[in-house]
Subunit: 254 residues, 3 copies
């Protein structure tokens, strides 16, 4: 038998045991709720965007600047019309009308300059813009006939040389509404929850204090939260993550 | 040295130790399999819907009721044609033909009534339906020329005033088939599984008892499981979650 | 008091205690980093595919074989144009032009043969191909007028009897590039990471050794890794999972 006749060590032993018990009781059980099971829920959101907007038209290859604005609704900017857990607003669209498969000069932006005497357009090579293949010919540019560029085989006229530019106005965009329908499953506890209830008011607008249960968000309220250049976001695009926190304690009744 | 010459406390001490060891051995190790690592798998499903259906046409703004039904196949109701981990069946479609950008009376449903003498249509305001902007004019309704409504600037004629209503028949829908291709990854164990095998029979129909390995489901069998109003589901829409459970024990050979 | 005057058992007791402490210190704390919290991150990828390709045209119902190839760019093969965490390249498309709703003979592939004298075409039954409903009539085939087949009511002419087959060439496909923009969230640690940095070079191509930080992948490099029949993959389709590993230790500075 090993005997350690030292009351200081024995006391230290008990103090350490007490500290461990206190740690388990207070921190793990009471503070971290170690007696509970945890599970991150899985959820699905269906999202509807509503709003109508005036769209400004710019035609880069044209000198005129005063095109009348046109009207877009959800069917125009919601591409694709329906997504799971996501929505897409096409705030800017660059459209090239009346394209057909064929041969045409490449755009000046591609910088595929050439001279008819010393032709550098290698037939069969893809253009850097990946809009077509070089035919090997050197032809006058569509935008400026005094400059010669490589001819391409693809959808003509080329997008960069003859497109129209549509952009949603920021004021209309701020008034778009986003309707969020979410259902959440805690599989381990066999519990299914939804953000819509029978008494949900569908004419409300979400506000973090005044109406925190409202499922309809104003897009401007979301954009206001960002420290970013909103105009650049509208013309260049970006990805916004909307996080929904469902922290639930099922030891109480819902 | 601390001595407690009490055999009852010593015995109690051993009993508690034995209880803890038994709890670890029986509950944690044997029942909960605490010696095993767990991981929720990640999976991807590609889903194909097949089926052909007769579609009933209703034109709300017309008095005639006997339009001949038309035929829809996957390309008509599968929107978008391909999704990851999801599929969408457009059981009801409301289509407005021959819309162009312009000016037209708002729909009666929007209740934007006005009088030419006291015009309440504020020019530039978006309509509540978000289908256009008010022009400020007061014009006779398209549906009932004796009523005056606000004129809008947008896609004309307005959707609510001149649309056709297509709805899939419930009997045809029940016979649609859903083909589920799933691959699952348990990354921590470097194991990849699929629901299709080399001997999978592709002319089967899933049945929980008779054919539980079949990857092809009859939509009617899925809809039968719900305690809900199927006709309301078809005309108003809904989200159905299909959960695939992959509970595998890799301590045995697959 | 329970006394066990056996120095062997006492020594064994201390050795076991030492083993447990060593196991905790070395394996759990040092090797498994048990003092750290772990979380699997959630991430979102936006993916852009670029590339131009020559497409070979085959018309199964025609005898001619020498159609000139046409050119496809991203708008032709990227269906849908934008997806979250995924991209789709339609390497093969079977297109049936000029279809209208109506009545036409079924395709020979469907094997719905009949004789006008003993008509086996049950009116109202869906065809196995789910392209239409049988009308009950027996008519000469569109592909071979000497054979009689059941007539169908659906989109005409039927897809299997009059379609054109487009397939992307493997050499062009190998040169497609995939641009991966990923942002990752470790929610528990409130850390957000991206694969793009301010100094990212956008004209690079990923290489596991030479350029492992490049966000642009050559599709051919990805396809080369598979032990599969690439031509079958192009003509029949398949699902490729791209796994991004974000194993980060936030005890150090990023």
């Amino acid at each position: 038998m090993v005997e350690v006749p030292n009351s200081f060590i024995a006391l230290l032993n008990r103090i350490i045991q007490l500290a461990i018990c206190t740690y388990i009781a207070l921190y793990i059980v009471w503070y971290e709720r170690g007696y509970q099971e945890f599970q991150e829920p899985r959820g699905t959101s269906v999202i509807k965007v509503k709003g109508v907007t005036l769209v400004h038209v710019k035609i880069p290859s044209s000198l005129a600047v005063n095109y009348p604005p046109i009207v877009w609704d959800t069917a125009d900017y919601g591409i694709p019309p329906l997504e799971n857990n996501a929505f897409f607003i096409a705030t800017r669209q660059i459209v090239t009308y009346d394209q057909t498969e064929g041969r045409c000069p490449s755009a000046l932006k591609s910088k595929l300059y050439c001279r008819e005497t010393s032709n550098r357009c290698r037939a069969g090579k893809a253009t850097p813009s990946t809009f077509g293949f070089l035919t090997g010919n050197c032809v006058p540019s569509r935008e400026n006939t005094s400059i010669n560029v490589c001819e391409i085989n693809g959808w003509c006229p080329e997008e960069l040389s003859a497109s129209e530019d549509y952009q949603i106005g920021i004021d209309d965009l701020n008034n778009f509404t986003i309707f969020l329908k979410t259902s959440v499953t805690f599989q381990r506890f066999n519990i299914h929850l939804r953000n819509l209830r029978d008494d949900t008011n569908f004419s409300c607008r979400y506000h973090s204090i005044r109406d925190s249960r409202c499922p309809i968000f104003r897009l401007g309220d979301i954009l206001d939260k960002f420290q970013t250049n909103i105009l650049a976001l509208l013309s260049e695009g970006g990805v916004i993550e909307i996080e929904q926190k469902w922290t639930c304690n099922f030891d109480y009744d819902k």
